[in-house]
């Protein structure tokens, strides 16, 4: 049982990461990751929706006919996103002003429909909840890493304006990596997003291959002895 949870966790964070393995959600990703803070905000909002949609889809999975499942999922997800949007607007208005634009983008995030379809509709509620959480955390981490890379090269800072998103307590996160940096506009604009994603994707492939080679070498040694 524990092994299963470990596998779901590892899938979400690394092996089957939304961005770097499934290559989903690239559209919202390129749009919002001009800074690490924006990436974090979008990631957290997506995680909340992903967790809720996985739980709901999984708990009604026996009731839904396979023939009409997609429209039902879409209605569910759109409703959840709208609820999150309205409650942030009403009760966390400062946060909403930062994230407002991104929240509506979550509806078009195919990763959420993807998890409802591929995982939540076939697994128990607990498994689906963990999967949603881990996929969301994996997505958040990817967004923060890509946003961080673009922000460091583009404007020489990291987590700028974090206090707007997380409150004044998190102002310590805001660091200036390169003082007096003139800025490198290309990295802030969308083409920089493609470059950052491409390079990070290549890096992940290299790490995975090294890992596989080492495992293979260990296996041959074990077989030979």
């Amino acid at each position: 049982m524990n092994e299963k949870y470990a596998r779901i966790t590892k899938d979400g964070l690394w092996n089957n990461n939304v961005v770097f393995a499934q290559m989903l959600a690239l559209c919202p990703l390129l749009a919002v990751t001009s800074s690490a803070t924006n990436g974090l905000g979008m990631g957290l909002a997506t995680t909340a929706v992903l967790l809720l949609s996985n739980i709901i889809v999984s708990s009604v999975r026996h009731l839904i006919s396979p023939e009409v499942r997609i429209p039902v999922y879409i209605v569910l997800i759109a409703t959840l996103v709208t609820l999150v949007d309205m409650s942030l607007n009403a009760w966390a208005h400062e946060l909403y002003k930062v994230l407002g634009l991104f929240i509506a983008l979550i509806v078009v995030n195919c990763a959420i429909l993807g998890r409802a379809e591929a995982f939540a509709s076939k697994n128990s509620v607990a498994d689906a909840a963990l999967d949603g959480l881990m996929m969301g955390v994996g997505f958040t981490l990817s967004l923060v890493v890509i946003g961080g890379v673009r922000e460091i090269f583009g404007s020489g800072t990291l987590f700028a304006n974090a206090h707007l998103l997380l409150g004044p307590a998190f102002a310590f996160l805001e660091t200036t990596i390169v003082p007096q940096y003139k800025g490198f506009l290309l990295m802030i604009l969308p083409p920089g997003g493609f470059m950052a994603v491409g390079l990070l994707l290549a890096a992940k492939r290299v790490i995975d291959r090294r890992h596989a080679e080492r495992a293979e070498a260990a296996a041959t040694v074990a077989a030979a002895s």
Binding site: L63, I64, V68, T79, L83, M86, A90, L185, I188
Partner: protein, 206 residues
Amino acid sequence: MKLEELRGKLVYQGLLLGGAALLTSALLSFFSQATEADIKAAEAADLKQSLAQVLPGEYENDLLKDTVTLTGKKGEVLVYRGRRAGKVEAVVYQVIGNGYAGNIVCVMGVSREGKILGVRVISHKETPGLGDKIEPAKGDWIHSFEGKWLGEPAADKWAVKKDGGVFDQFAGATITPRGVVNAVKGGLEFFEGNKSALLDEAGGVK
């Protein structure tokens, strides 16, 4: 097993879709009503805060309630008015400039004497790193309007330096500041043209 059979029936599928739509829309309309008041209050507070930025000082009335709508060059303009001792001391309204990438929406506060109290950019789509120095968070440029009026600088000097005026342009972005300067100048002309109605004199709307 019964559910399995049922799920294949067309009627069940129709009902399922309809039921899902009905449930979610009921939920949404309920929630929308529950949050409406809070959202309105938050937005009003927001507006008040942005008005306060271009209208320093205390006013005795509620700015959001003392408004007048006038016709400007580009359509109707909603003007908020601040009073002291019953007299309109300052007005705030929106002006729109033509930027490099679409409209630049600004609010400006003007005193009774026609002097600029402050200008802020509310929304724009200018290039990050070049044109966005019009935001107060990214540069002091927007403060260069404070205290100016139509006679200081003279009318033909109300332009960026490249066009023979007094306002700085940014390296790599002239169109953006030019758009803002023109919008603010237009705003001042609007003030002069509608002074009596704006200042609620000569039996204006109350």
